[in-house]
Structures are given as C-alpha cells and as structure tokens.
C-alpha cells in the first residue's frame, strides 16, 4: 500500500511517463508547458497530480490522451501504457485506445457533453465503436451505466439531453461515458472544480467507489490538495511544467519536502486552523514558461526550457541555505525516483530549515 508508484523493483509500471515535454509555438515564442515530466502508475491506484494554473497538469492530461493538436503542439518523450507507446503513435492507434483503454473526465460537465445528442447516445457511442456492439446493445449498456453512476430512473433518463440534467448529474453522465468500456486508465481533469461543495463530495465518493469496482488506474488532476487528500494514493506536485515532489499522499501532506509543496499547504485556509492567524501565502507568482523567439527571427533552440535552474527559486524562502553558491539558479534539481522532491536542499538542511522557520513570515511580492 505504501509502495510509491514506479518504485525500484517494479519492472514496468502500467503507465509510465518519461521525460514528457509539451511545447506550444505561439506568435511570441515557444511555451514550454510541460518540461521533462516523469512518473509511473500501477493498476488500480490513484495518482493525484496537483498544481496551480499554468503548472502544466491539464496539458499533461491531454498529452496522455494524445489530444493535443499536432499542428500547434509538440509532444516528445515517452508515454507507455501497458507497453504501448503513445507519443507519436499514429492517430488510428490512439483512436482505438481512447475511450476504450484510456478515458477522460473533464472539468466542466456542461460543455463537455454535446448539447445535440441524448446522453444515452453519447454514452453508448464509444461502447458501440470499441466493442462492435449493436446500437441496441449500446443503449442497454448506457442505461446500465447511468444506473451505476447513480442516476435515478436510468431507463427513462437515457433519452434526455444534457441540459435536462443538473450539474452534478451531468458529471455523473460524463463519468458513465468514460467508464462505459471499462478503461484501465481513467484521467480525471479537475472533475469537481465546477461543482458545488456538497455535489463535489458526492462525485468524489462516486469516483472512489467506481475505481474499486472497475479496478482502473486513475490520474486525478486537481488544484485542490483537499481533494487529493481524500481520493489519491500518491501525489505528484507540479510547478512550472515540472514535477517538484512525489510520494504517497499521507507522507506528502504530513511531511512535505519541497518548499513549494510546503508553501501550498501553508497557504490553504483550513477549517481546523486558527482563523485569527493570517494565512501564509507564497510570495510572488509562478514564472513565465514562454521562451521568446530570438530577435533575429530564428526559432528558439529546442533544447532547454525557459528556466535553467529551479523554477521555484524566485519565490523560495530557503534557497539561501543551499550549499554550493547559486546552484538553485544554474542547476536544475532532479526529482528522485520514489518518494522525494526536486530540490537542492539536502534532507538534513531541509529538516532544520523547515523546523526553524515553522511559519515563515508572510511576505509580499
């Protein structure tokens, strides 16, 4: 249970991502949205990918599905799903996997469903396509799935359109659609962010139940550490397109190793903390991931990302304690396999530093 995903000893995890890079070319330059991301995930486990906006977590999700527009995005690296290489795979092959072996739940259930087709048809569609079932069988399967995600009177609601459902019910429909082919990997991109808190709780429970029932591996992408706390086995914390910390969810929440993770946990207002105490924000804002085109009009070199050293350096309160001069500025910290953080602080330095500055003074940008 405690074994971190992709730890040594497991020969080949079910999902293995190595050095994933996603770059978008824009008029102003190249945006290095994901900059060398690696992680692994075992069957039946849930990995929470946590980050703030612009951290590259949603871009990663789309890259896993092969959904980036090939004209504007360049995706490199390795995404191995059960031995199948997905990056650069032909579209036909991806189509066979999508909705079948790998499925996705999106943030906003209203826009994620087509307003022009009944929910039954939308749920049955991938089933019919991937299993070769008849439309009749597809419909029966849709009714069954609607029932399993907790929609009352599924046989009647199957012919309704998405706008006839409430927000929470729509997200149930989206989940039914994602699970209709028993996918072995489910990617949920902020599945509850657009929902009210009481409905969010319902949907998270449902996802948890279904994961056990279907045995899928789940990549849960969220900005909310609270969501991860209740749902995931392992966490991957992303910042500026890179993974900065990874580990089992309990260890990361209780004993964060990266200054960013620690800052994130400190800045969350909690029902249990002292409300009179000011929150402890992370000063400043995340760095830009844009590498402008060189002035001479040539394309930016493809090699390095926008940041040579640690992307968190400008907001970090502990960089002064790192030995070796300005390593934080010049040398990119490596995220070790298994439990760990991409930080130049040594284990001991981190312990003393975090202990001495139990609550760093709230700073301003």
């Amino acid at each position: 249970m405690n074994a971190p995903a992709g730890a040594a000893g497991t020969p080949e995890p079910f999902l293995s991502v190595r050095d994933l890079r996603v770059r978008f070319s824009t008029e102003d330059g190249t945006v290095h949205a994901v900059d060398g991301l690696s992680f692994g995930l075992e069957r039946g486990r849930t990995l929470g990918v946590v980050g703030e906006s612009g951290s590259g977590k949603s871009v990663t999700a789309l890259a896993l599905m092969g959904l980036h527009d090939r004209r504007t995005a360049s995706v490199t690296g390795e995404v191995l799903l059960d031995g199948h290489e997905l990056t650069g795979a032909p579209e036909k092959k991806l189509e066979r996997l999508r909705g079948n072996r790998v499925a996705m739940v999106f943030q906003d259930p209203l826009t994620a469903l087509s307003p022009y087709h009944t929910v039954g048809r939308q749920i049955a569609e991938p089933f019919v396509r991937h299993t070769g079932a008849s439309r009749r069988q597809g419909r029966l399967r849709a009714v069954e799935m609607l029932g399993r995600v907790g929609i009352p009177q599924p046989a009647r609601r199957v012919d309704d359109y998405p706008h006839q459902f409430s927000g929470g019910m729509r997200q149930r429909v989206v989940i039914a659609m994602a699970l209709v082919c028993n996918p072995s990997l489910l990617i949920a991109d902020e599945p509850t962010t657009a929902l009210d808190v009481t409905v969010q709780a319902q949907i998270l429970d449902l996802l948890g139940d279904l994961r056990q029932e279907f045995g899928s591996a789940v990549v849960l992408i969220t900005h909310d550490l609270g969501v991860v706390a209740g749902t995931a086995d392992d966490v991957l914390v992303m910042y500026a397109g890179r993974a900065v910390e990874r580990g089992p969810v309990r260890e990361v929440l209780r004993d964060p190793q990266h200054p960013y993770t620690r800052g994130l946990l400190d800045s969350v207002p909690r029902l249990s903390s002292d409300p009179e105490e000011p929150l402890v924000p992370i000063p400043g804002a995340p760095p830009s991931l844009l590498v402008p085109h060189p002035a001479d009009g040539s394309r930016a070199p493809d090699g390095g990302g926008p940041l040579r050293g640690c992307p968190f350096l400008p907001r970090c309160a502990f960089s002064g304690r790192v030995e070796g001069g300005d390593r934080c500025r010049t040398e990119r910290p490596v995220l070790p396999a298994g439990r760990g953080a991409a930080c130049h602080l040594t284990e001991r330095q981190r312990r003393t530093a975090f202990a001495e500055e139990a609550r760093p003074r709230p700073g301003r940008p």
Partner: protein, 330 residues
C-alpha cells in the same frame, strides 16, 4: 411545436397587414391618377370617370383598402368579371387578374432562388468545411482568399461578363431562359445554369467564410474534444459534433439572407432577361399598377415570412434545447 407554428403564423399575418397598409396608402399619396393609365390612348374624361367608378377609385382610400383586403380572402366581383379568392384585383396595365400573373411568374423566380441557393450552399459550405478541416494549410489560404475576392463581386457586373464569355463568346451554354421543369427538365437546367452560378458566386463567399469560422470555433469546443477523447474517428467528430454545432449560425445567416436572396433573384432576372417576379415588381412600379404592386409585394413578403418560419422551425430540429424550451414555456 404546434403552438410555436400558430404563434409565428399569426405574427406573420400581422406583418403582412402592416406591409399591405403601408404600400396601399403610400400609393395613393403619389400625385398620379392610375385611371389615366388604365384608360390608355384616346382617353376621354367620361372614360376616366367610368374607370374610376368601376375600380372604386372614388371611394375613400381606407374603404378601398378594406375592399382590397377582403377580396384577398373572399374574392371580388369586378365589371370585367369575377375574381375568385385570393383576389388581388385586376391589373390596371393588362386587365388580367393579378393572381394569374403572379402564378405565371412565380416558377421562374422559385427555380432561380432555390437552384441558386442549392448551388451556393453546396459550394460555399463545402469549401468552408474543407478550409476548416485543413486550417492553416495552403488549401485553407487559397479557399479563404478566393472567397474574399468573390465576395466583392456584383451580379450586374459578373452577369454580363459571364454571358459574354460563356454564351456569346464561346457558345458553351445556351442563353439563359426559363423552361418549366415539368416540360423539359434538361432545358430547365441548362437554361438556368448560368444565372444560378452567377447568383451563387455572390453568396458562396459569405457561406464559405462563415462555415469556416464557425467550424473552427466548434472544433475547439469542449464537447468536440470529449468526442475525440472517446476515440471517435476524425470524420465522425467533424460531422456529428462540430458540423452539428455549426448549423445554428449558418441557418441563422441563411434566414437573414432570404430577403436579399429574393432581391438577388430580381437583379438576376433583370440581368439575364428572365420573366420572374422581380421583373414584374419593377414593371408594376413603372406602370403605377396598384393591384400588381400590392400583389407582388404581399406575395413575396408572404414567401419570405414563410421561409423564416421554416428556418425557425429548423432551429428546433437542430438544437434540442430550443425544442424542449419551446415545449415547456408555452
């Protein structure tokens, strides 16, 4: 749905009433005696007076208007003979019942508009789809720039040029003419081919650009992405999801274009010397032929209103949200 149709039909009737009243009273405000025209050469004062009496031109205008409007519904008796419903009266210019003339001319205009619309929708939307599916490529750029050039064309310029080249210059096609479809389908087709294409050229460009831009917009919609995430092949995603969503704006623009489509048909008729409603409209105004003006006016307005109702009903077919809302809010 039925409720919606009834509501829209009543609305259309009200619009027609307004149009008719406006035209009628406007006509009587021009300082020109229509009886003089009906009387022809060798006209005497007595003859004019007789015509005045026969046509009821001596009555107060509102009374004449009322008689005219009731005539449309119930038919009327004239000195020249009975005029069954729908009676728009007798033409001052040629003494035939107006409705007969309308019925004569209508097929030409209908063939022209429907045929033209088929051509420009097929070509325009098709080109738009291709451009959207290959956006950013050379194909897209060619389609986009050609449509830009074409959109600045005018029928009265393009028409004669095409005529000059294809008909008089090379003799590839016969001179445009109208043969009823029922009599000679091939003749109908070849006779109208040039007018259709010329009309189509003008409208095509708009539809190409619109189809392209709405499709590109739709292709970025979340639900299109969902469809791809389900493993639907590109073609299915394109037609079942993106194209479906593009229909609403396209149908909307088409609905708004209906008026100019009839207008375009009128100009086309003139350019190619076809005897349709457009010709009739112009002639009737020159002749100050009140019944004919009223007839053409009401007839074409009614057609446009009818088409608009059809377009609105099409929304309901395309978008279930429209359909179901109309059902419950009634």
């Amino acid at each position: 749905m039925l409720r919606f149709l009834v509501r829209r039909t009543l609305g259309a009737a009200a619009v027609l009433l307004l149009i008719s009243a406006f035209t009628f009273f406007l006509f009587f405000s021009i300082p020109q005696d229509p009886a003089l025209l009906a009387c022809g050469k060798n006209c005497t004062a007595d003859a004019v007076a007789l015509i005045h009496r026969n046509l009821g031109l001596d009555d107060p205008v509102p009374l004449q208007y009322a008689a005219f409007m009731t005539g449309i519904v119930t038919g009327r008796e004239f000195a020249a003979g009975p005029c069954p419903a729908p009676c728009f009266g007798y033409s001052f210019a040629n003494d035939r019942p107006v409705f007969e003339t309308l019925a004569d001319r209508f097929p030409t205009t209908a063939s022209l508009t429907v045929g033209g619309a088929v051509v420009f929708l097929a070509v325009g939307l098709g080109a738009g789809m291709i451009a959207a599916a290959r956006r950013g490529t050379a194909t897209d750029k060619v389609v986009s720039s050609v449509s830009l050039v074409l959109s600045s064309m005018q029928i009265y310029f393009l028409g004669p040029v095409v005529l000059g080249v294809l008909v008089y210059g090379t003799g590839l096609l016969p001179s445009p003419s109208y043969v009823p479809l029922t009599e000679d389908p091939a003749g109908w087709f070849t006779g109208l081919l040039i007018p259709w294409c010329v009309m189509a050229v003008i409208f095509t460009a708009n539809y190409t650009r619109m189809a392209r831009s709405t499709l590109i917009e739709q292709l970025q919609e979340d639900h299109v992405r969902t469809a791809r995430a389900k493993g639907m092949p590109g073609r299915t995603v394109f037609f079942r999801y993106a194209w479906r969503g593009s229909l609403i704006p396209i149908v909307t623009i088409f609905g708004m274009d209906l008026g100019s489509l009839f207008g375009g048909a009128m100009i086309t008729e003139f350019t190619f010397g076809l005897a349709g409603l457009g010709r009739l409209a112009v002639d009737s105004v020159i002749d100050i032929d009140l019944p004919m003006i009223m007839g053409v006016m009401l007839f074409s307005s009614a057609l446009i209103l009818l088409c608009n109702i059809v377009v609105d009903a099409a929304y309901a077919l395309i978008d279930p949200r429209v359909r179901l809302d109309a059902g419950s809010s009634a």
